[in-house]
């Protein structure tokens, strides 16, 4: 018994040891951990720009990181560019801890799948890392501009991520999620885009992809409409004629599809709640009449936002609301009949909205600040 146990342990040990020549043994300080990677396409080749911390300026006692260093690799494919980047570095390079991938506009226009395919095949990459498109410029420009201005790029991107989490309940621009969306070719892929502002990055709306190539950028309202319909909105400001400002605090949406003679009708039910944030009128808005009025106005406001999203979808023929998946799930049998024609059907989808809301918190002040003027 004891002999067999010892044999099993030894075999287990050698089996584990045999998994790799050296089990990828590498001390953490011998690796350049890439925090942010930019993927660009310029002059007929892919360019990868990596940011990692160097030992310069690191304080071991305080655990503070060193200065950010940038390295670049070029190649005819992203993977070749990555190999080139590895060769240029003194230490080994790892994308295991990369939290953000920035895809330059040109690379996004070329083909998004090509950009992230090599990432999906790396066993160490974090599938939860976020992907952004850089609007109007190359990712390398974003990175170099940021560093020149004294920004710490990965910290700025963390700030962007936090802002994103304040607006939506989940980030749909993770690597794993986008890979899933790419796999479903009938679905219009949308990825958030970043705008470069002075000393910071700003989160824009969604960049829309058609046939895996960047085709359009959506404004914030249209993007918010998508978030409401997809039931991922966390917070959103509502401005009613400059008189009253509210903040959406809770929202729940349900989407139902009806299929009749290849005509798709989508009914979107939304229940939401708001809080009063600002009152600039000289009247008590918490009277029943006024509240009813506000409620109607905020319903219209939200419907308009959602309409922006649906109108874009129907006018462009891109399924940015993932209605195909909905129809597939709710009408499994009929889906097989219309699947081939789906791209042509997107423009004919009829949308109906059923919105209910209430103003939940009035706080202490009943009369708006305008009343005291």
């Amino acid at each position: 018994m004891r002999k067999s146990l010892i044999i099993i342990i030894i075999m287990l040990f050698f089996q584990l040891y045999g998994c790799s020549h050296d089990m990828n043994r590498r001390e953490i300080d011998e690796i350049n951990l890439i925090h942010v990677m930019g993927i660009d396409y310029k002059e007929g080749e892919y360019v990868l720009t990596a940011i990692y911390s160097s030992s310069q300026g690191a304080d071991p006692e305080k655990g503070s990181e060193g200065d950010e260093e940038v390295s670049e690799g070029r190649g005819s494919t992203p993977f070749e560019a990555f190999q080139n980047l590895k060769l240029k570095n003194k230490k080994s390079v790892s994308i295991a801890n990369t939290g953000y991938f920035l895809i330059g506009e040109d690379a996004a226009k070329k083909n998004i799948e090509k950009c992230i395919d090599f990432l999906s095949r790396d066993e160490t990459v974090k599938m939860e890392s976020l992907i952004f498109v850089t609007q109007g410029s190359e990712a390398s420009y974003f990175i170099s501009e940021g560093i020149e201005k004294g920004q710490i790029v990965h910290e700025d991107l963390e700030a962007v991520e936090q802002k994103q989490q304040e607006l939506v309940t989940r980030n749909d621009n993770t690597l794993v999620n986008i890979l899933n969306e790419i796999e479903n070719i009938t679905t219009g892929v949308i990825i958030p885009y970043l705008k470069a502002e002075e000393n910071s990055f700003l989160l824009g709306g969604y960049a829309v992809f058609d046939n895996l190539s960047l085709v359009d950028y959506l404004d914030l309202d249209t993007s918010a409409g998508i978030n409401i319909i997809k039931n991922i909105i966390r917070a959103y400001p509502i401005y009613l004629d400059d008189d009253v400002a509210l903040s959406l605090s809770y929202s729940k949406s349900r989407i139902k599809s009806e299929l009749d003679n290849e005509q798709v009708k989508v009914v979107i039910h939304v229940d939401f709640e708001t809080m009063v944030k600002e009152v600039n009128v000289n009247e008590d808005i918490f009277r029943n009449e006024a509240l009813n009025n506000i409620t109607e106005m905020q319903n219209d406001y939200i419907i308009n936002i959602m309409k922006k999203a649906t109108n874009y979808s129907t006018s462009s023929g891109r399924d940015i609301l993932q209605i195909a998946r909905l129809v597939q799930n709710q009408h499994t049998k009929k889906w097989s009949e219309i699947e081939g024609e789906w791209d042509n059907m997107i423009s004919d989808i009829q949308y109906e909205f059923d919105v209910k809301s209430k103003v939940t918190k009035s706080f202490i002040l009943g009369v708006g600040s305008g009343g005291f003027e």
Partner: protein
């Protein structure tokens, strides 16, 4: 080579029965052995029929004498021992002389004078006794002014009683003795437990005196079913061991098994707890403690009412409890003294600490050497920054610091208290800080090892704490060799080992592996007392209801 007569003489004094058997054996072998000679000292002596006969006669003579209670023999036996008193006392005019047999220093002198000596010299009724038998009867029927008085005819028992501190009066012609239990020796008073102190609850702990300890238990369980069996272990030490259980609850098989194990212990001296523990545990090669010890009588009584068996050893100030299961070792008396939610929270912290102390150093090694992608980005970057300029690998750092930690603990235990504290400060703070400043270790490793070390001391049972400390090393080595694969293999082996442990027919990690889940109410969570309606099934068998 031991000469034959010395060898046999050695056996005579040790064990008369074995000696007799040996004599018979020699007699049977005498004919074929007649051809051979045996070396005695510098010359050879023939081992033939005559030699065996002579030897047998001598053995018989000495054995006969030994089986009898006789003052002359006792005097001869203990003639070199200064503390053994064998002196004659003439008790009346009928020339009846008894011999006092006791150990100086172990008896209560005042009580001896009052209960024994005074009655022997001045009791008028005793003077009228004409024979030793009459005298004995009178003393046993109330003539002796002491309640714990018995007649003893067994020589072996008599010697044992006297050597444990009792006083005997030898009546040579009757070959019997009257034994008075007037023991008194220096002992500690009952103090607060040093290891299992609680804010709310009893402050009593066991001491080195067995009888005092049994009294502490008896005071808490006033049941006629409480059995305190007295057993003896140690050929020379003849240490008293009390087997304590509730006869109506405890599993008879377990009691019998423990009794037979103690009776089978055949060593000279039961001087340290390990001598008993190693006989009682069923899996000697396992590092996990399979016998629980406690200093607290209330904890023993709680376990007895759950159907477990306790062992009290004379000279050892704590009780052993069997059968022992891992969750018992994670419980503290404080859990039951506090509100059940607080008790549960404390237990969760303990279980978390156990996981932390076992795996944190290994996890650090694996994450910084093999699978750095396991670390969140910020943690990876700060770890990387902390490790800059350190010349050693993470594995060397962690293992080196773990060994240093053990050295500091060991040194702290050996040194006097005042010096120990200073040494801990020197070792922990000064050397630690200096090592970081000199870039010998990274600050992250200091934090990891310190956290693992402190978490290890949260274990209520020190044996468990020591075991976990050793396993921590093994895990760290596995992680150093093959990273998380090694760590995973270590965890699998550890769980397999724990699942395979069986302790007196109960699973060691019961109730986590039980089909019946009711016992889970007193493991990681401490449910309110009203839910403890039944005793552990695997411990008590069918006598389960306690509420």
């Amino acid at each position: 080579m031991l000469p034959l007569h010395d060898f046999i003489g050695h056996i005579i004094t040790d064990n008369i029965q074995a000696y007799n058997k040996l004599c018979v054996f020699f007699c049977i072998l005498s004919v074929p052995l007649g051809k051979y000679r045996y070396m005695v000292g510098t010359h050879y002596e023939s081992i033939n029929r005559d030699y065996i006969k002579r030897l047998y006669k001598e053995i018989k003579r000495r054995a006969d004498m030994e089986n009898r209670i006789n003052s002359a023999w006792l005097k001869k036996l203990f003639e070199k021992s200064n503390d053994i008193v064998v002196r004659p006392i003439k008790i009346n005019q009928n020339n009846i002389t008894v011999h006092l047999f006791c150990v100086d220093g172990l008896i209560n002198q005042a009580l001896f004078d009052e209960a024994v000596f005074r009655s022997l010299k001045f009791d008028p009724y005793l003077a009228q006794c004409k024979t030793e038998r009459e005298t004995m009867d009178y003393l046993l029927e109330g003539g002796a002014y002491h309640v714990f008085t018995i007649e003893e005819a067994d020589y072996q028992l008599l010697v044992k009683y006297v050597l444990s501190g009792m006083v005997a009066l030898i009546f040579d012609s009757e070959e019997k003795a009257i034994v008075y239990d007037i023991r008194m020796f220096e002992k500690r008073s009952i103090q607060e437990p040093s290891e299992e102190n609680v804010m709310k609850g009893s402050k009593e702990s066991f001491i080195e005196v067995l009888r005092m300890n049994t009294a502490l238990i008896r005071r808490r369980i006033r049941s006629e079913y409480l059995v305190i069996e007295l057993l003896t272990a140690g050929r020379l030490s003849k240490t008293d061991i009390a087997l304590v259980y509730l006869s109506n609850i405890a599993n008879t098989n377990t009691v019998n098994k423990i009794r037979s194990i103690i009776n089978s212990i055949d060593i000279d001296n039961v001087s340290t707890p390990a001598f008993i523990e190693e006989y009682l545990i069923e899996n000697r090669h396992s590092i996990f403690p399979q016998i629980m010890y406690t200093q607290r009588p209330d904890r023993v009584s709680a376990n007895l009412t759950d159907g477990r068996v306790a062992l009290l050893v004379d000279g050892i100030p704590f009780a052993y409890i069997l059968p022992c299961q891992l969750p018992m070792l994670m419980q503290s008396p404080d859990d039951y003294a506090n509100h059940f939610l607080i008790g549960s929270s404390l237990r969760i912290i303990r279980y978390m600490s156990m996981i932390l102390t076992l795996f944190l150093p290994a996890f650090y090694i694996a994450a910084t050497t093999y699978q750095s992608q396991m670390l969140p980005v910020q943690l990876a970057l700060s770890t990387q920054a902390a490790k800059q300029n350190v010349p050693f690998s993470s594995a060397s750092e962690v293992l080196g610091l773990l060994i240093s930690f053990e050295i500091i603990i060991e040194a702290g235990l050996r040194l006097p208290k005042a010096v120990g504290t200073a040494m801990s400060i020197l070792g922990g703070l000064v050397v630690g800080q200096s090592a970081v400043t000199a870039n010998l270790v990274s600050p992250a490793v200091v934090v990891i090892v310190a956290l693992a070390g402190i978490a290890g001391f949260i274990m209520p049972n020190q044996d468990l704490s020591s075991g976990i400390r050793l396993i921590r090393f093994i895990m760290a080595v596995l992680a150093a060799v093959v990273g998380f694969f090694g760590l995973t293999a270590g965890v699998i082996l550890l769980i397999t080992h724990l699942c395979s442990l069986d302790n007196y027919n109960t699973a060691y990690i019961s109730p986590f592996v039980d089909v019946e889940k009711r016992n889970i109410k007193d493991t990681i969570f401490r449910f309110p007392v009203k839910y403890f309606k039944k005793r552990p099934k695997d411990v008590t068998g069918n006598k389960q209801f306690k509420q």
